[in-house]
Amino acid sequence: MSAVGVKARTGSTALDLVLRFRALGLLVALTALVAVTTAVNPRFLGGQSVRDVLFAAAITVLLACGMTVVVLTRGIDLSVGSVLGLSAYVTASVLAESGMPTGPAMVLGLAVGAACGALNGVIVHFGKVPPLVATLGTLYVLRGVVYFLAGGSRINASDLPRAFLDFGNGRLLGVPYLFAVAVLVLVLVGVYLGRYRSGRDLYALGSNPEAARLAGLPAGRRLMTAYVLSGSLAGLGGVLYAARFGTVDASAGFGMELNVVAAVVVGGVAIFGGSGTVLGAALGALLLTVINNALPVLRIDQFWQQAIIGALILAAIALDRLVSIRAARALRQKGSHVD
């Protein structure tokens, strides 16, 4: 790489490189994992197995997109598992009991998610409650609401309309609808964050909230957008969950927030805001899913799964730190040359 090229394209190239490096690193890790697992059991690359991974990854990818948007603003949304549970239960129960047509029921599930997201946004922005605390609180409260609604009842696949279940388990040219939806959302959120003014604002808000406010960014509106988006995607995740699994009870999505946060952090989104992409987060989600599905094939005790997730989070943030220190040093050196 020539020094001229670097100079001509200013400091953001280094950042780009870091980000690309992360996506690249994740791809390498994914490939290696798939290669090893396939060597042990060739069926791992079989059609059925790949479809299983895509099905399983779809919902986590969806939630990771929403989480990315929130984390970019220096926030976090721990309530996604509860929101997913609430939306899944509401959607499934109106389909099973009130005979509402599939389309409106799905929109209802999405709306439930958006409302929960708005609640988070209001508490964070107007209540000035730190996101960690606010969404930890709504994690409890919304799960309590699901318990209250569902009690001990469970909605079974046989209660749900055929078309709804077909959507959850169907495929288009071999690709599950669910995964196609997740990819579509990924592209839309990616374009929004990268190309639109209000999307770029989220990065600004996350890297320096004070400066962003002084520069006249409508911080409140942007924060609300981020939380409503995260809530809506969790709501959509709930709808897809109901369609995919058919069985919905009060525990749907319990504890899912840990996986989503892990996917986002592993995907290179900085926990203190301002940097990261949905593509990285989606690759993070995919990697975690593949690990999950590879463990039984590799005959590794399933009890290792959570420990591996934890170790990956630590490794990812340590790597981020290392890369940013090196980048800062490189920038300093470059600066001194110019002077």
């Binding site: 209540g127 930890l136 994690l139 309590g144 892990a262 420990a307 934890g310 630590l314 340590a318």
Partner: protein, 336 residues
């Protein structure tokens, strides 16, 4: 206490704010206890008080160290997983034939080491404590499962399990109250009457200024995490013996309750503010509230909702109060 620090007016203002919230939460707790004793059947008995003390012991012990950590502006989400891992490790050591007298100090030591790992990542590598302890939350719980799987180790000697459930002498005061009270006093003294405590507040209120005044902020935080881990190890011992069951899922999800009581007790999540008496009152309030709701046949759903709402309210209420104060203040200034 304010007479002790005549030169630090800003700190005394902070202290005053904290004491107000302290007084409020202590008052609410006392009122609640009195009202519940009058209205909820079986609540005001010595036996029930014993149950409440047993139930709050792990939360209180974890909250002591958490108070210090949150006051420095950091957080430790891994405490409950540390409890689980030390409990699982105790099971493994017991199965290997070690004596409980040897296992207990080792379990506390293990907790301290796990805390040191947190501390190293956070202060040594300069990583955000939120992300690090989410990572170790998963890692430690995962390792607990790796150690014990889904099995339980249950054949603990009656002498020890009986002690954790027994009462002092022939009275109605549980044995666990004694070490709990000693530790609460130690932590209270350290936070409110020693240079360490002042460093904790300084590090939380303004880490850069604290560093300039010669406080080794990193080293302080590191040892706080070690302490937090050791306390979690101690809770692991207590938990294992109280339920005579070493399991990987022990204390699952307890970190949320611990953070809830610390915030409810008036400790600011941004650091620099808070006091131990308020946190102690919050522990008593939360646990006795849950106890009273159970006695009053209120459903489990309500308990979940109450915990979550209290958590949000704990931060929302002082914010709202200061907003109102601010508005009043502005009006007064305008009329003056």
């Amino acid at each position: 206490m304010s007479t002790e620090a005549p030169a630090r007016r800003r700190d005394s203002a902070l202290l005053r704010a904290a004491t107000t919230w302290d007084a409020a939460i202590i008052g609410v707790t006392l009122v609640f206890l009195v009202v519940a004793a009058q209205t909820v059947e079986h609540f005001g008995t010595a036996r029930n008080a014993g149950y409440i003390i047993l139930d709050l012991a792990p939360i209180l012990l974890l909250a002591l160290a958490m108070t210090l950590i949150v006051t420095t502006g950091e957080i430790d989400l891994s405490v409950a997983s540390t409890v689980g891992l030390t409990s699982a490790a105790m099971g493994v050591m017991w199965n290997a034939g070690m004596t409980l007298e040897a296992i207990m100090p080792l379990a506390v030591l293990l907790g301290a080491v796990l805390g040191a790992v947190n501390g190293l990542f956070i202060t040594g590598f300069g990583l955000p404590s939120l992300a690090v302890t989410i990572g170790t939350l998963a890692l430690y719980r995962g390792l607990a499962y790796v150690l014990l799987g889904d099995t339980a180790v249950a054949d603990w000697p009656r002498l020890f399990t009986g002690w954790t459930l027994g009462n002092i002498g022939e009275g109605a005061v549980p044995n666990v109250l004694a070490p709990m009270a000693v530790l609460a006093i130690v932590f209270g003294l350290v936070l409110h009457a020693t240079p360490i405590g002042r460093s904790v507040y300084a590090a939380g209120a303004n880490p850069i200024a604290a560093a300039y005044t010669g406080i080794a902020v990193g080293r302080l935080k590191f040892w706080l995490y070690v302490t937090s881990g050791a306390m979690a190890g101690l809770v692991g011992v207590l938990w294992t013996l109280r339920y005579s069951s070493a399991r990987a899922d022990n204390a699952y999800g307890l970190e949320l309750t611990v953070i809830a009581v610390v915030l409810l007790g008036g400790v600011s999540i941004f650091g620099g503010k808070g006091a131990l008496p308020g946190v102690l009152a919050a522990v008593v309030l939360l646990v006795s509230l849950q106890n009273a709701l159970r006695l009053a046949h209120v459903s489990t759903e309500a308990l979940t909702v109450v915990t979550g709402s209290l958590l949000i309210a704990a931060v929302l209420a002082p914010n709202a109060a200061s907003a109102v104060r601010g508005a009043l203040h502005r009006r007064r200034r305008r009329t003056a």
